[in-house]
Symmetry: C2
């Protein structure tokens, strides 16, 4: 397997181990080699030895479906994709000026963004540990740029401070400073004598002083030291008036009322840890790049109505929505990536347990609203470059564009990323009402500029997206236990793939990892047949 | 001043206030308008009414000198710059393949980086609140891209864990989790009953549970919840083996020994808070862009030897180092941006208090080492995209490139950013010894790849830089009190400018703010003359 004349690379070693010992051995080897913890991705699937002429029909030209088609074709299978829409990418999608979108209920929006601006209705950011997606982005030539997830200088808005937004840095600094002061006080009051050794107590006190920016009396107070974290009333400058003026920390009660720990914990979340990425030009560039790889295999405008498998293969009935004609397609096997809510409505002879699994998983809703503004006032007036300002209102956050910083001219900010009840309320509105709500709620952050600089907007409510009727699968502990293995298992000649068939739900990475796992098992099954 | 037919913009308002009430009124107005705290920059200086034919000689074509020349020329002054080097930019500087650099002591390095790669020996990152620099970057067409300052997935190395580096995210999560558990325990032991109300104690407990990822018993333990912050043994995946496996938190004793709070506090520091920027193509692009604006004004290769002022003007003696010829230049006024250690060696009739101030401020040292590697193993093998891995060794950190992510081919990482004693030790070495030290120390993070993938390197020890003999001015509380106002004050016809004449020391922003303040006062003095 490896050329004995040279030292095998890590990839070669892992491939060799994988072929001999299977996935468990591979995983153990990766763990021993000490960086398995980043990902379950171990390279593209190994599908060698495919039977000549074996055929697969893939339902859905989203990322899971296209990856399946790409890898199965490479392995020698004859593959065909049926796709409901007239474009590849599925939920990987960007809306640009000139695009038209009609939602369930009939409302049609014509997007008016200036050239270069866009809204990503679905996925919009890529964690650094989503290695499968990064691998294929590189392989398919998708150029990436940093997505600014964490911005100390953006705002947090809540009922605290009379509804006045505060900078994340000030609230977070004050939370940490107060926690440090209180824990130090507790140590002094001997509350932890039974828990920590004297040596560890001393180390902890030093840590609290430095991390919490406490003064020499171990208090968190107004001084240049605490201002180094929370910001200054007058920051350091040059010349005669160069000396800084410290700022006054907030009352701890107000800091608690702001619930700033929610955002602090959010930024520490595995899925949102830095560094994150986005494709240059919009998330939809990924769907387009995948689409370019499988383009000859796709039949667009194909509305699947029936999936029937028998001892020899799978027959899929569909309607060509551009002509209205009924069609059928047949193959030895089927990889079905249709979202569960849609699949649940399609006639099939899938097994009853699989049907029950498909029916058991609800989809979340979410609403995204893009607002085009005349200028980047958040940058020019408030020194916010990328990242999010959070609110406890329905819009949940506004997020600033992560490209073309400092540029003159119109820019699109994400004016809402609503979920839960907020998403249902916004989803129930007309597109015009959604924009109005986004402008009203977002104005708390930029009262002087928000309405004044507004040009136009677009929104997508996922509950009204005709081809998914929801955003993504929401498993819970019970449904996982009862249905997950059934859902991902091969049902005779059909296997499901997509973010819904993963533990990385609602992420493109989940769709890809699921797809690799599904086609690897399907290939094995095909070889056994 | 403002067109009464339309609402004045914020900038117009501030300019109007500034002209009527001066800086103090302006500052107060900005504070009231609630975003003064970002910067002392209030737009380019207003130097209207310059006397026709008035002349200024600027010493040094670093950022402070070039900004002074640019704004004074715009205002109508006749300006000339004398620069010791044969290029503009001063400490704003990038080294590219093909460049040659000779340090004090005589060692010459020929940089061998591949095209597109570079080392920034001096400044390398721009805080979002350095508004003066951002303003002129935009005005002069410097394209910026994000500098990844904060990377949860990079390493921290210390004597803890037997010297094995750990990911920042895991150490930080464990620090926060333990602090949360301990403070909650203290509350339960009534250590804070006298300090916090019952209501605030309840809110704080909720905060600690959510921020610290505590379990239902308010313990920080091994489970999927704590792994959401610290990372998984097996992260969530797709298909049959999709379920995640949690990781075991470190012993708190080891977390304390790692001193992780140092990095946690570092990332909360005002100067290092996100979002940060770097110019596309290297920091030196800024010096080049400023240089392009003032190019006709600059005399390069001019080594100043004497600065003499009299009642009518300032005479500067210098040697043209390309010909060896002695020259003089004369002007009504002089803006001197020469670094203090150099200025201290130049003959002058500056006042004794100013001379004492110039002599009183020591310069820090620092050493940067660029290492070109065959491939981006930190990205490919360890999922680190930009940011820094920290160590308590002399190199202090290694920093990963923040551009061309995922690209094949050689890339340059910063193999050392030493200061203090480490910088003096590295500065005392030959360039070859520095590289060897950087490779030896940096290998702790990437033992399998570091030496194997190394191609070539370059280093700059600021104590050996002929035109500064140090990195930047290091004021302390005493020298500020005794000398700062003298240093920035106008000495008859000479005013000093540069990062050393600011409270934003060692940053380009300090040089620019100092320059604006200096020429604004000089202009006022000139009008009074």
């Amino acid at each position: 397997m490896t050329d004995l004349g040279k030292t095998p690379t890590r990839r070669e070693l892992l491939t060799a181990i994988g072929m001999i010992g299977g996935t468990a051995a591979l995983y153990q080897a990766m763990t021993t080699m000490a960086h398995a913890a980043e990902t379950q991705f171990a390279g593209p699937p190994n599908l060698s030895g495919a039977r000549k002429g074996a055929t697969v029909i893939v339902l859905g030209a989203g990322l899971a479906g296209m990856l399946a088609a790409y890898e199965l074709t490479k392995a020698g299978y004859r593959v065909r994709i049926l796709e409901y829409q007239n474009r590849a990418g599925g939920r990987n999608w960007s809306l640009y000026g000139g695009d038209t979108y009609t939602e369930l209920g009939g409302a049609t929006q014509k997007v008016q963004f200036a050239p270069g601006n866009y809204l990503n209705p679905g996925p919009w950011r890529i964690p650094h540990h989503h290695r499968t997606l990064l691998h294929y982005c590189k392989a398919f030539g998708v150029k990436l740029e940093p997505f600014i997830q964490f911005n100390h200088n953006a705002y947090v808005h809540s009922d605290a401070f009379g509804g006045k937004p505060q900078r994340f840095k000030s609230l977070a600094a004050d939370f940490e400073g107060n926690v440090a002061e209180l824990l130090n006080k507790s140590i002094d009051q001997k509350a932890l004598d039974a828990t920590l050794t004297a040596e560890d107590r001393d180390k902890l006190k030093e840590a609290l002083r430095d991390w919490g920016m406490l003064d020499k009396d171990m208090r968190y107070t107004k001084n240049l030291r605490s201002s180094e974290h929370r910001g200054f009333d007058r920051p350091p400058g040059g010349g005669v008036n160069g000396s800084p003026i410290p700022s006054e920390p907030f009352a701890f009660k107000d800091v608690l009322d702001s619930r700033i720990w929610t955002q602090m914990a959010f930024f520490m979340n595995y899925e949102f840890q830095t560094t994150m990425f986005q494709p240059v030009g919009g998330m939809g560039m990924i769907g387009k790049a995948f689409g370019a790889q499988v383009q000859p295999l796709v039949t667009f405008n194909a509305k699947v109505s029936k999936i029937l498998q028998d001892k020899k293969g799978v027959t899929v009935s569909y309607t060509d929505t551009s002509t209205g004609q009924a069609q059928t397609a047949r193959a030895d096997y089927c990889v079905c990536t249709i979202p569960l809510g849609i699949l649940n409505q399609i006639e099939s002879n899938l097994s009853d347990p699989l049907k029950a699994a498909v029916a058991a998983v609800p989809y979340s809703n979410s609403v995204k609203i893009g607002l085009e503004m005349n200028r980047r006032f958040w940058e020019e007036d408030q020194a916010i470059y990328g990242g999010h300002s959070f609110t406890n209102q329905e819009i949940s956050l506004i997020s600033y564009p992560n490209f073309d910083y400092l540029k003159d001219g119109p820019a699109v900010l994400l004016g809402a990323f609503a979920s839960g009840m907020g998403a249902y309320r916004l989803g129930g509105m007309t597109p015009e009402e959604r924009i109005e709500t986004a402008l009203a709620q977002g104005s708390v952050f930029h009262p002087a500029q928000y309405r004044k600089e507004y040009r136009n907007g677009a929104s997508v409510a996922w509950s009204r997206v005709p081809w998914t009727m929801g955003c993504c699968a929401r498993w819970n502990e019970d449904t996982r236990k009862q249905h997950y293995q059934t859902l991902v298992g091969i049902d005779d000649r059909v296997v499901l793939a997509g973010e819904h068939a993963s533990y990385v739900g609602c992420w493109m990475e989940g769709a890809l990892l699921s797809s690799i796992d599904a086609i690897t098992r399907l290939h094995k099954r095909a070889l056994e047949a």
